[in-house]
């Protein structure tokens, strides 16, 4: 659905995008994650034909963003970070104006407006001025607006930024519903790992204008070594117990009275792991979150050439010799 190839965006003093390439499949929710200034918004602006790349290119829905800008714009809906609806107009009026801008034929205009209003749950508020909407409702209106012309791709730039936890969960529900009912590919940027984990089929981590990891949330978490279980015993680890023989266990470490087990799917496998186990004092477990992945990835890219890292490495080398 989207092909990004060797994309470079250079500003006078820095590269916002640095030879970026990836692909997005049809009907998936693709998350773009990364620290502030990583280039997420620049990337969306290029894919939405608002910004021209310095080098490289991108294909959206089969159209080149440089040569077929109008075709690309017909294929996409965009919800920007900052509010972009007129708060002095009603929800319905905002939608009608955009329906006209997109050349939606009069015959189906009203029907389509009601459809998208219902989709985002704003049907009964359509005649209120947007300034009377809550932050979440306003964002939902803008999503409805982005869907009016049946786009193939919907870009959501931080769709839940500044929303309270409850509105955020509501928003997630709507986003899932939209993918199902509208058969649309969604590209979203976010800072909330929980959100990316919950919604995205695949995630691309961007750092310094490059994709540094790209996979499904569960695979990304697995790469950290899977779930971790720490069992502490009252008096020593029972010697007859072999934790490593389970097929879901990757690695076992012993540490005094405790054993640390790295494994898959702690929720479904725990009962087998601790069956008939005696003398247990405590069991702790931790599922790695995307947050851990994010911290590891952004930590890697930051500390790679930092002076401390270099020094500590040399120090470690020195101690060995």
């Amino acid at each position: 659905m989207i092909i990004v190839k060797n994309l470079v965006k250079r500003y006078s003093d820095f590269n916002a995008l640095n030879d970026l390439s990836f692909e997005v499949n049809e009907n998936e929710i693709f998350g773009l994650l990364g620290p502030n200034g990583a280039g997420k918004t620049t990337l969306i602006h290029i894919l939405a034909t608002l910004l021209k790349p310095t080098q490289g290119g991108a294909i959206v829905n089969g159209f080149d963003v440089l040569r077929d800008a109008i075709k690309v714009r017909e294929s996409i809906g965009v919800v920007f970070q900052a509010p972009s609806s007129d708060d002095i107009l009603t929800g319905y009026e905002n939608l009608k104006i955009h329906a006209l801008l997109y050349g939606i034929p009069r015959k189906i205009r009203e029907k389509r407006i009601s459809e998208v209003l219902e989709l985002v749950g704003l049907e009964d508020r359509k005649n209120d001025q947007v300034k009377k909407y809550s932050g979440g409702m306003r964002r939902r209106l803008e999503i409805a607006r982005g869907l009016l012309h049946n786009p193939k791709v919907l870009f959501l730039d931080e769709p839940t930024l500044g929303l309270d936890p409850q509105s955020r969960e509501t928003m997630w529900r709507y986003i899932k519903k939209i993918v199902k009912e509208e058969k649309v590919t969604i590209i979203l940027t976010t800072h909330y790992m929980e959100e990316a984990d919950m919604l995205c089929d695949r995630i691309g981590f961007i750092s310094n204008g490059k994709i540094i990891a790209l996979d499904s949330p569960s695979k990304l978490k697995q790469e950290l070594g899977g779930d971790m279980v720490k069992i502490t015993f009252n008096d020593g680890i029972p010697s007859k117990r072999d934790f490593a023989h389970f097929d879901f266990v990757h690695k076992v470490e012993q540490n005094g009275n405790s054993v640390i087990i790295y494994m898959d799917e702690v929720n479904s496998n725990m009962h087998r792991l601790i069956k008939d186990l005696e003398g247990v004092q405590t069991i702790e477990y931790k599922k790695p979150t995307l947050n851990d992945v994010f911290l590891k990835l952004s930590g890697d890219s930051l500390s790679g050439d930092s002076p401390e890292g270099g020094f500590m490495q040399r120090y470690a080398q020195y101690k060995k010799t």
């Binding site: 714009r73 017909e74 002095i88």
Partner: protein, 259 residues
């Protein structure tokens, strides 16, 4: 996807209507802007008009009547230039971006905006014309037609000018520069408040490159029969200015950064 070549012109018309509709709805609902922009010309007409009018000037008619065409133009100057440069606000929140990702050409967006500017100017001028009746000014059908055409052309011209500046200026502070360096000079140098026949040469020269000068003169011809040039000449020069400024405006608007 919904578009086919056959329907293109219909779609462009719909887009123009959408942009125009948005401007008019916003204009009519922002009461404070509406009231302020109507009140200012009246203040000039009555305070400056009566104040300076009491000093016995040699201009061939009441001073209040003399500046009446100038105040019509003033209202158009302020409304139109502000209207055009209002895209600085549209850009401040993401409305402009949301228009730029729609499949409408920049030229269509530009023209849609100027239509909005023309309509808002007409609203204001209608109010001032009604007040003119209280000043003892009579309009026949020809006069009204002439006023209408001059007001529409001038407002098209100056909305384009505002959009031109708005395309280059990114900060809200820049808006103040437009007020000081564009709006007030256009007004003061147009001969709205004084006759331009006997000005010193340098000042006279500047008034000649102000499109509003020809609008004031045309309206003075039409309403008071007191013009410096003929109505036809005024109209021709105004059209020339409008043509050039619109071309520059569309050019600037097309190469404006979207983000």
């Amino acid at each position: 996807m919904l578009n086919t070549k056959k329907h293109n012109s219909k779609i462009v018309l719909g887009q123009l209507y959408a942009l125009w509709l948005r401007e008019i709805k916003v204009f009519l609902r922002e009461r404070s802007r509406l009231i302020a922009s109507t009140f200012t010309p009246l203040l000039w007409l009555f305070v400056i008009g009566s104040g300076l009018g009491s000093t016995n000037l040699q201009i061939g008619t009441d001073y209040e009547k003399f500046i009446f065409p100038g105040i019509i133009c003033m209202s158009v100057i302020f409304t139109s230039v502000f209207f055009g440069s209002y895209i600085i606000w549209d850009r401040k929140f993401d409305f402009l971006k949301s228009v730029m990702v729609a499949p409408a050409s920049r030229t269509t967006v530009f023209i849609g905006k100027t239509f909005g500017g023309m309509t808002t100017s007409l609203f204001q001028v209608a109010i001032i014309l009604a007040i003119g009746i209280a000043l003892g000014i009579n309009y026949d059908a020809l006069t009204l037609l002439q006023i209408l055409s001059i007001v529409l052309i001038l407002s098209f011209c100056l909305t384009s000018l505002g959009l031109t500046f708005g395309s280059y200026i990114e900060s809200l502070e820049g808006f103040q520069l437009i007020v000081s360096f564009v709006v007030f000079p256009l007004f003061f140098l147009s001969g709205a408040l004084f006759p331009i026949d006997n000005l010193p040469a340098w000042l006279k020269f500047i008034t000649l490159v102000d499109p509003a000068t020809y609008s004031v003169d045309a309206l003075r011809n039409s309403i008071l029969h007191l013009g410096t040039y003929s109505f036809e000449l005024d109209l021709a020069i105004l059209l020339l200015f409008t043509f050039i400024i619109t071309l520059i405006g569309i050019f600037s608007f097309r190469r404006m950064k979207a983000v």
